[in-house]
Symmetry: C2
Subunit: 296 residues, 2 copies
């Protein structure tokens, strides 16, 4: 592992890769409102060099369009919806491509995941933000898909649990597939943390006794979605993230380079306790360092 | 294991015990409104014989006073608050007796648990049913106690998670003890099931990385609370329940007799797959059988 602490190391890192897969929470921003110092400059610098910059997020609260709006508000006006892959958009891709028979979906999640799923041909059902729509629930569904839901309620969880436990009288098999956008335990915010999608899924795993299909990092399903749409040379591609357990594991599984930053979830202590073969290829304090060292 | 299928077996079972610890959900009722057929008659019969009948429930939605009201509505007017031990009342007893320094408690739960905790000298804080009171939250608490909450929301879970993750700057230890009334995955209802307290705790275990102290069955802490208040001869005491994983394990741990009924959670199939040493002393379809066979 190389810790980037000089201009030459930063330069070598940038020259060695053509495509950069950037995690967002903890790398570019903490809590969407304000970017982490230097992150916007670093992304602009890579863009000016003609590098391909892709955003790969487990965030399931927002749609890709929401992500575009955030990037534009930071002045990164070149970012388009095609540059963004989220566990939510990948979940939509997964359901329509891999399980085309699933067409009646219960969504436990916020407006972002609903928006992504409405771009597909699936028939989706969800409880409105104010808790209404509950009475319109179908008796059974083909899949339950879980994303982050800041309006989570006991009624929604109870309904998801009922669907997940429902067994077909004839075949004896569960009727609904169980899909979770990701298993992140928390979301690191500017002033603390919020429970992540994985915590919601843990509730349902325990209540239903079911094991979900995980779409987001470190599952390789998210990389499958990217490589289905983009040509990537693994040797010249780097995953940049703040979590050893999701971003770095994901990069390793995909056989690509990895850069760990300390501006989010994982700490230097956690890295030092990680076995050598599980460590990232590179590390630095934040992506702002890349520009900072080169400008010095 | 003896399956009770005749008057003589029912008689031997009743003669062999002086004290009966009855689980409620799945044994006496399914969903509080209506008793399971024959259960009221069985309880009345035991009472008429002068047997001691105690109710031991993991239910953390209701206070003991709520339980008394339900029993009285069934015509079991002899039942008093002192006959009832719930994981909620035991949690209150646990906090005040075993951890007397804990005096600022965040309650994630419904009115029943709040009512039990208000009988103690603890300073408790909770979010009202309509979600208000959130702004009055203390910066830190000494304990987070989790019970079943039909008004569960993301905000409540996020607050509990924040308290649980809070580390003392000086000692480096977690500031809040993590207590759960029980780890039941679901509550069996008349027409399906609802997620149990254990599912809520699973969310927080995953989001916080903390392991809670469990009060309810099969934890022996609930039996400690009973034996602290009542003299019990283990050899002549029987735990009657519908769950192998909570009631029967609890009885075995306490060294008392056990009776499994099939009117609730566990099935005959589950029993047949259980190793011999984990099986109950007795089994029958429902507690109504005890009276039915004797009356025949």
């Amino acid at each position: 592992m190389i810790e980037i602490t000089s201009a030459s190391e930063a330069q070598a890192f940038i020259n060695g890769n053509d495509t950069f897969l950037f995690d967002c929470d903890g790398v570019i921003w903490l809590g969407y409102q304000t970017p982490i110092p230097g992150s916007v400059e670093a992304l602009q610098y890579l863009h000016s060099l003609g590098k391909r910059v892709i955003f790969v997020s487990n965030n399931s609260l927002h749609s890709r369009r929401d992500f575009v709006d955030i990037f534009h508000s930071f002045g990164l006006t070149h970012v388009s919806i095609d540059d963004i892959f989220t566990s939510t958009s990948a979940a939509a891709q997964y359901i329509t491509h891999i399980s085309p028979i699933h067409n009646n979906i219960f969504v436990l999640g916020g407006p972002g995941i609903v928006e992504e799923l409405e771009l597909t041909n699936l028939r989706i059902f969800y409880i409105n933000e104010d808790g209404t729509n509950y009475d319109a629930r179908p008796e059974k569904v083909d899949a339950v898909i879980v994303g982050l839901d800041s309006k989570l309620s006991y009624d929604k969880l109870a309904l998801a649990n009922t669907y997940l436990r429902h067994v077909n009288d004839t075949s004896g098999a569960y009727e609904a597939e169980f899909i979770t956008t990701n298993m992140d335990n928390i979301l690191v915010m500017k002033d603390g943390s919020l429970p992540g999608t994985g915590s919601i899924s843990s509730f349902l795993i325990y209540s239903s006794g079911r094991i979900p299909t995980i779409i987001g990092k470190p599952s390789i399903k998210l990389l499958d979605c990217i490589t289905e749409k983009l040509h990537i040379d693994p040797k010249r591609t780097c995953m940049v993230g703040d979590r050893l357990d999701t971003d770095i594991v994901f990069g390793h599984k995909g056989g690509i380079n990895t850069l760990l930053v300390f501006s989010g979830y994982s700490t230097r202590k956690e890295l030092s306790e990680t076995p050598t073969d599980k460590r990232p290829t590179f590390a630095c304090q934040s992506i702002g360092d890349l520009v900072k060292f080169i400008a010095q």
